[in-house]
Structure formats: structure tokens, C-alpha cells
Amino acid sequence: MSSWLEHLIAKSSEGSAGKTGLWRTFKPVHNVEKCNRCLLCLYYCPENVIKVYHHRFIIINYEYCKGCGICAEICPQDAIEMVEEEE
């Protein structure tokens, strides 16, 4: 492809809207003790920022998590708490 055309085609990238974690007013905090690893939070995360490691550890990518709160609502174990962000 000629180089000027190349510039017209957008390239796949995380953070196409910047660090969307800055949008958050509440932050989801996961409690590994309460979690039964059903992974509903992961499956229903619209932002695709929840990952599971070693079938046990739920890691939330706060760089991009917008803090919508769906994960906390859907968790049947109440293992995710929405905590207010500080300045």
C-alpha cells in the first residue's frame, strides 16, 4: 500500500480514547476471599478490562476501566465493591 494511503487507515490499538480510567468516579475492588470464580464479571465487562490469572486471581486493568459498575452488580458473591476514587 502506498504510504499516503497507509496514513488514512486507522490502526488497532488499546486506548483509542486515551486513558479512560480517568473517567472513573468509583473503582471496582475485587475480594479474592469472597470470589467463587464464576467469571461473570469478566464475561459482562463491556470494557474487556477484567482478566483471570491461574484460574483464581481476577485482575482489573485500572488504566482503562471506566468504573461503570456492571461487574459489582452482576457478581453473585458480592465480591466486587465500588469504592469512591480520591482526587
Binding site: H7, A10, K11, S12, S13, E14, G15, S16, A17, G18, K19, T20, W23, C38, L39, L40, L42, Y43, Y44, C45, P46, E47, N48, V49, N61, E63, Y64, K66, G67, C68, G69, I70, A72, E73, I74, M82
Partner: protein
Amino acid sequence: MSLPMESILLPGNPACQGCPHALGLRALSVLENVVLVVPAGCTTIISGVHPKASFSVPVLHVPFASAVAVASGLAAAYKQEGVEANVVVWMGDGAADIGFATISGAAVRNEDIIVVVSDNEAYMNTGIQSSGTTFWKAKTTTSPGGKSEEKKDLAGIMLMHRIPYVATASVGYLQDFVNKLRRVSEIRGFRFIHLHSPCPPGWRFDSSKTVEIARLAVKSGAWILWEYDGRFRISSPSKPYKDETKRVPLEEYIKTQGRFRGLSGEDIEEIKKKVEEQWKFVLTMEKTFK
């Protein structure tokens, strides 16, 4: 549960908090070799700010009325070139209003494409204008006193095209949606899914409630999940609600959303009648296409 672990929509995209399109697109990730065709709407914005694209798959942006025609041509071209591709038109309810002629035409020709209408029941990206599928009595910027027109049944209209596959789905039941997408990938020809997508800013509810409200729509019977592939079946999440006495009162659904604020008891009775008529239609289809 067997839902995708990854989404074709990458993190840090411009979608609002709790956006239903983002949930639907996550489920869409079960399809292989997806090429998206996207007419104007929130998804146009969600797809990224140039030079960054937020999708990991190719996306073609198209004008409203051309969307399904472009997809038809694209699918034919891929076939001719021997390229494996699943051409998916991902469009809003507004786009389905404006682009209906080409949807209907491609359905009649039985083009080999998938069309998903992610229905947030208004033209959201231009500021919440009423669409053909906006819920009865809902307030939008063009229906400030509540929608007075009928709500059209888009999936029902597509069913009447007798295409190989038509279904309704909901972002509140992603497993059901994913099952339907898997079924879709086993079928060739024109396949249509009408996805119910509650939108936090447009319907005025908190971003954490998207899934809960989508489920209330199903539990109250206001949104009915069904599938047609030659046979018509009511899908399992909706099955219990064939029995009216099992349904959550419609008020429970209505009261969660700012767009219904100020509805009178009479208004709600009127909506209940409409919902009942919809159930009659769906149950008749189930008997007709056994």
C-alpha cells in the same frame, strides 16, 4: 458458561460507561473472521479516534442507506477471491429505520451476510431522537411528552421475509446471544439478529444497571427472546414468561428508567395491552412454524 474471554472491541475505547453496544460486541467475538460494516451511530464513534482504531477486526464505515448493500457486495467479493470472511453489519435501530430498503432487498436476495441491529430504542448518537422501535410512551428529545406512535416489530418484519435465520437477543443474556451467534455460523444466507440494548444516558439509568434492566425487560415480558431457523421457538430465558403469572410486573421495568418518568396508571395499562398483543403474535408464530 462458554462466553468469549476476549473482545474484538479493545479497552480504552470511546463508548460510554455501561454501553450495551460494547457488551453485544463482546459476544460477537465468538464469530471467526469477522469483518464489520458499520453505518453512522454510536458504534462509529466507539470504533476509535483516528489514527487509532478500537476494533481488532477490519471495519468499514458506510452511509446509512447503503449499509446492507455494501455488505452484500463485500461478501460476494470475498467469496470470489476465496477469502474466508464473516461479513457482519452492526447497525443501530435508527440505521435500521433509515436503511430499511437495503435490508429488505438483501433479505429477499438471501445475501450471505449477518445483520445485527443493536437496538437502544432511539437515535442515541445524535441526542436521543425517537425511532421506529422506541418503546411505547418513552420520552425522547423528539417525543418529550412520551412516544405516541406505535413501536414496530423489526424482527417480526424480518421473519416475514422468510430468511434462513431470525432471532431476538438481549445484552442481559449473553449466553443466549452467543448460542444464537454459534447457530448463525452454521447457516448460510441472510441471518438477522435483533439485539435489545438498554442505554444508560439515553434511557436515563445508572451505568451499572445495563444488564439488570435488560433482564427486567425479559422478565416482565416486555422483550421476548425467540429464534427462527425454519422452526420458531421461544428461547429459554423467555420460556417461563409464556405464563403471564410468572412475569415480573411491568411497573418494575418501567420505574427503573428516567425516560418513563411521569407515566400515568392509564399509560401503563395501555402498554400492558401492547405487550400482551406481542405475546399473542409470538405464540402464534410458535404454533405456525413448528
